[in-house]
């Protein structure tokens, strides 16, 4: 059953232009575009590819999880699909597992895609152990994002409001997560806002792990603690959701 559900979940994703554009076209296109502008620049000890590759991999994960996983849940709820599926004997666990696997498959494709672009265009060096470590953390961040996205989108019952929220949050994340615009060169209030953005913390942790430069200092612990607190709050929100069906 899980294989059938997953097959159709992936098929539906591939047919939703909105999801595909925001998750698999915009991030790689931005990665290439910025690379054309800044690939000659060097950051303290790191090249453009070393800095940007993990960032854009993470941006794809964010886009997939928030659009194709979180927003998709709202769309199914608002359009009555969720209720109709609930009526069939398929278990909620199968649907959830398929949604998780779908997100992991698509984000993993994004992981490979960005690394492929980096390899071909920006002389990115790929080291297997480093890649595997980064991929492991990438899966952990996928889990964090899915939990937080599920909690946030559980508040939405209307597609229009969820769509507006998704597009706004995408812009905010793009600006304040240190993905493409250096936060430390931005106004004070943006830097403060960035500290509240979980993607900012994930991005820096991921860049450090990806480059094998993780240092266990207070900043690292603050980032990890912040993410753990967010996941805990998200779990509480999901747990407290009112029961809609008999089971």
């Amino acid at each position: 059953m899980i294989a059938v559900q997953l097959k159709y979940d992936l098929l539906m994703f591939s047919r939703e232009i909105f999801y595909v554009v925001f998750s698999l076209l915009v991030p790689p296109a931005t990665y290439i575009f910025l690379g054309q502008l800044f690939s000659d620049s060097t950051y303290p000890g790191l090249s453009y590819a070393d800095m940007a590759t993990p960032s854009f991999v993470l941006l794809i994960a964010f886009s997939v999880v928030f659009f194709a996983f979180g927003f998709d849940q709202v769309a199914n709820r608002a359009e009555g699909v969720e209720k109709r599926i609930l009526l069939s004997p398929v278990s909620a666990e199968i649907l959830l597992l398929s949604g998780i696997l779908k997100s992991i498959i698509i984000t993993s494709f994004g992981f490979v895609l960005i690394h492929g672009i980096g390899f071909w265009l920006y002389d990115l060096s790929l080291r297997p152990v480093q890649l595997l470590t980064a991929y492991g953390l990438f899966l952990v961040f996928n889990t964090v994002l899915m939990t937080v996205a599920s909690a946030i989108y559980s508040f939405f019952t209307k597609m229009k409001s969820a769509l507006v929220f998704s597009i706004i949050i995408f812009q905010i994340v793009l600006v304040t997560a240190d993905f493409s615009f250096p936060v430390n060169q931005m106004p004070e209030f943006v830097q403060t806002a960035a500290q509240l953005n979980p993607m900012y913390h994930m991005n820096h942790l991921f860049i450090d792990v990806w480059n094998n430069q993780l240092i266990w200092n207070s900043g690292t612990w603050i980032s990890i603690s912040y993410l753990i607190v967010l996941v805990f709050i998200a779990c509480v929100i999901l747990f407290l959701q009112p029961k809609k069906s008999v089971k």
């Binding site: 059953m1 059938v4 559900q5 159709y8 098929l11 539906m12 047919r15 939703e16 199914n76 359009e79 009555g80 699909v81 209720k83 109709r84 599926i85 609930l86 009526l87 069939s88 004997p89 398929v90 278990s91 029961k243 809609k244 069906s245 008999v246 089971k247």
Partner: protein
Amino acid sequence: MTIVQVQNLHKSYGSHHVLRGIDFKANAGEIIGVIGKNGAGKSTFLEVIMTVKSFDEGDVQLFGQSIQEASGLQLKALRQRISAILQPTQFYKSLKVEELLHLFRAYYQSDVKVEQLIADFSLASHRKTYFDKLSGGWKQKVSLAIAFLAKPKLLILDEPTTGLDPHMRQMLWSYIQHYNQKTGGTVILTTHSMDEIERFCDKVMLIEKGRVKQFDTVVRLLASGYASMNDYYLQNVPHEEDAS
């Protein structure tokens, strides 16, 4: 054999008390119409017996099994025996008709062949059409085809013919009647068409403000002095302006 037994069913949305002590019983092979004004509680009642909506008080038994006491596995087994058309009818919009049939065939672990279903419901011309692109009538037709994938013992239909032209109505009813007569399945539906109630239903339950105002056979209701079910409805369900 009793298929559905409901006792003293209560359901509220916040402070809005939608169902106020509904008692109901459906036997095998019966076609029962649930009627009442918009907002009377018809759809909520159907969604409770479909097991997709929780309730506050009372007892609901399907096939002799209390749904509030059923384990997850027992509930899954109950859902294998129930099919429904919801209002409005919605499925994954970016799947084509035949893909939806394959997906739901897997959900219900049905041995009904998709090709057979496409032939039975004359869906061949729209098999490659996205569900979202179908007209209202075709959506209902596909929904009914999906409902029959489960070989249900209980079919629950929420306003299945609303907005359909007479040809489509006739066709849907021919499928429903055929199912009822061939399999002995029970059908519970809501409709605003008193003509359909009179022609196709064995019993009718009138809900008013969340309470059962009357529950009887169509034959007995008509014999009690009403020229038609339309006449019965007009005399027993106050018009909004009359009520205010």
